[in-house]
Amino acid sequence: MSALRSASLVRPVWEYRGRSVEGADEDEFTLLVRAGELLLESAGPGARRPPRRLMTVTELDEGAHKALADAWGLPTLDTVTFPPTELGAYQALTQALDEDAVPGEGAVWVLAARTASPRPGATSGSEPPAHDAAAVALAFEGTSGVVSARKTGGHIGADGPGLAVERAFARWWPAPTVPWRAVWATGFRYPEGTIPWERIAGLPPGGPQPPLPDLAFEDDSPLGPLVALAIAARDTPIGGAAPSLWFHATSQIVAVRELARTGPTTVATGGPAPAKPLSITDETWEARRDPPLNAVSEGAYLPKARYLESLPARWRLEGDRCGACGRWTLPPREVCRFCGKSSHLTRDRLPRSGAILEAVTVIRKGAQPTEFDYHESTHGSYAVAVARFPPGPRLTFQVTDVDPTQVVPGQVIETVLRRLYPQEGTWRYGLKARVRADIEPTGELVPPRAEEPVLVEDDEPAPTHAKGSGGHRAPAKGGPSRPSGSRRT
């Protein structure tokens, strides 16, 4: 038996027609990076321990898995992949929950993510998304946390999934008690459209109903079971009634688990939300259908090799701190580019959160580099800001997940890994800034001054040559004198 020690749940801040949808600069990869970051941080400051194993229920390939470790700043991870279906999620969860936990060996992570964007080539991008976008990351470790107390289930026979669910539930739940929470995390639908609890658990019709899930995954999504477990962990009171989790995996298996809490479980959710939900219009949704993935820069071009070379700085804010002058050099170099010394450099990482915006602009249509034409068409104008990190260095970021006109100097930001721009068949990723709505801006703005301007009077040494004497006129050709007028000493 193994316990769910911590979980993170990431929901994008954007909405389209009532569904949670990812921003145009997000995808499964960026959502997973975020979920994993939150998991690492939930262990507390300085406790970024790599998992002993990574189990992903996604379509990501080997390269993307390596990139995940890169983004988190972890060594290459022992990775097991499962197909991105409910069955895959069932298999991953079963393996993680039921495996014999050895304390101190490190956690097993289970991750899944789902986007809601129209798939390339869809006939109409403006069709509403079929499901919510989200990512979830679960960390199983030791035996203290949320554990699976009992489980039951079975194969779905010829009589269909409905009866199989009822049989499994009846075996598991003998008393006519309302489950504390039942999370509907399955693509299977009853013909009634709702869960017939009275038939399953012997509840009286019209009686109390268990709460509905926070997120619905009504197709064959791996997210349902994992999100259900995260929500159950989040909402389970210690010492309270056990919640139940149940799910139905594909057309083959029904599984029901009762959960119990044997210790604290931390659940992180995707950071501070904007003041009001950000809505995506039909037009920008439509524009997402065909990202110009094969675009080749007409201009300022960053070769892939240089992009990869600077990943530690671009993704993880790694730089060299100079012990001689105190300045940071990003990306790291062999020599401090401020003082030129090379003997006092220490590799370090800037904090992901806490930088303050020093200057802000909103790039309007037509003022964006061509690389950001797609971004402009899917999100409109965007904000770019220079942010200063507490140790001193500044970096320039696009500010994401926000109405750009609401970005002002003084705001505090955190960085998130996002898509930057498409190039030569792949997306280039890098950090963007998100405004920390939970932290008050530092309010540096000063009001305009009404003082009279003061032109500088003679603040320079008096001229050494009288006007008309030629000053530092050029000497005759071949002349011996070398005027000092433009010489540095």
Binding site: E298, A367, R394, Q398, V446, L455, E460, P463, K477, P483
Partner: protein, 380 residues
């Protein structure tokens, strides 16, 4: 300076070679007592090669177009400060004694290319990896400086607009200017936003054009004209390519370094200047330039413009030509065009926009967002 030539700036039908030819021939023709092409020792061509029409070896065209095939030529490229650096190199070559007569020309042909290609070329001189690929082009970079200038000094959109209004007033008097129409403060404030807080009227236009200047050693200059204009100081500096790495977001170190060098042994002080041609690719750039050049206390550049001190008839006329803002900004041509203006002004040949009695002038040319800059001082 013994001669200077200038084409009209604007969206022109002429190609780059025709523009170059026109400017250098005009410069030759402007030498009071006559100068032939074969008397020129070396040529310096300032151009970014916008659009990619001729990036490599472009300077050889200078020899072709002036009619002096075989002469030594240099292509000088420091983005928008190419012209200033080309002039400085020519000045240094003459001071070294190796060159007696130098032709310096600046050229850019910007309106030939598609709008997406133009947006690329307008961005190549900033930091590619950390600035441009964060979504910035130059309006965005200068907008960041304007944003910070407002935070630190309260510089308002009205102060920015005052710079545009003043430079358009001057540009309206310059027959070579791209935008020869006046603007009102209201029109500026209501203009479409490009990169907040900068609107369309805060930005210089995209222009074609060329300018050329002939420089000669003192003894030869006196033989070529009775009214040479002397280059009496030259300075240049640089800074980090990306704005984020710089000491300040409201000041350009490259300008300060260049100004300090230029004034170090100059025969006059800042307060004795009669006019300045400064690099106003965006309105905020002129405000910052006047502060960095040491002509006004840091933070007061905006109020200087609002108070009308920098108009043609103000205490410190700035950009009598209309500046980059109204005259136009064909990148490589700009620094050379500034010296053309000073040549005209100090010789009392600037017509309607003449600054009365001008004897001492400054030219300030910036590359990109301040990675490079030059300051040249000239007097009668």
């Amino acid at each position: 300076m013994v001669g200077a030539g200038h084409t009209r700036f604007g969206a022109l039908s002429d190609g780059p070679k025709a523009l170059l030819r026109s400017a250098v021939q005009a410069a030759l023709g402007s030498v009071d007592k006559g100068l032939t092409a074969k008397q020129i020792d070396e040529g310096y061509l300032a151009t970014l090669g916008f659009g990619g029409w001729q990036i490599g070896n472009a300077a050889s065209l200078l020899a072709e177009e002036v009619g002096r095939p075989g002469m030594a030529v240099h292509h000088v490229e420091n983005a928008c400060a190419s012209g200033g650096f080309a002039l400085r190199q020519a000045v240094q070559a003459i001071r070294s004694g190796d060159v007696s007569v130098a032709l310096v020309a600046g050229l850019e042909k910007m309106t030939d290319v598609s709008s997406s290609r133009r947006r690329y070329w307008l961005g190549v001189s900033g930091d590619t990896e950390w600035e441009r690929l964060a979504g910035l082009t130059f309006p965005g970079v200068y907008a960041l400086l304007a944003s910070r200038h407002r935070v630190e000094y309260g510089t308002s959109p009205e102060a920015l607009a005052a710079v545009a209004v003043k430079n358009h007033d001057n540009g309206a008097l310059n027959p070579n200017a791209h935008l020869q129409k006046r603007l009102t403060m209201e029109a500026c404030l209501a203009s479409p936003r490009v990169a907040d807080p900068l609107g369309l009227t805060d930005c210089c236009p995209v222009s074609d054009g060329a300018a050329a200047v002939l420089l000669a050693s003192a003894d030869i200059a006196r033989r070529l004209t009775d009214t040479p204009v002397w280059v009496v100081g030259s300075g240049a500096g640089s800074d980090f390519l990306a704005v984020q790495d710089r000491e300040s977001l409201t000041s350009l170190r490259a300008t300060k370094v260049a100004a300090a060098e230029a004034f170090r042994h100059a025969p006059f002080t800042r307060a004795q200047l009669d006019l300045a041609e400064v690099h106003d690719c965006f309105t905020i750039a002129e405000i910052i330039a006047l502060e960095d050049l040491g002509m006004i206390t840091a933070g007061r550049g905006g109020s200087l413009a609002l108070a009308g001190e920098t108009t043609l008839h103000g205490r410190m006329p700035v950009n009598p030509s209309g500046g980059l803002k109204a005259k136009g900004h064909p990148l490589g041509a700009t620094g050379v065009s500034q010296l053309y203006e000073i040549f005209q002004q100090l010789r009392d040949e600037a017509g309607e926009r003449q600054v009365k009695g001008a004897e001492r002038a400054l030219a300030h040319n910036v590359g990109g967002s301040g990675a490079t800059a030059t300051v040249l001082l000239a007097s009668l």
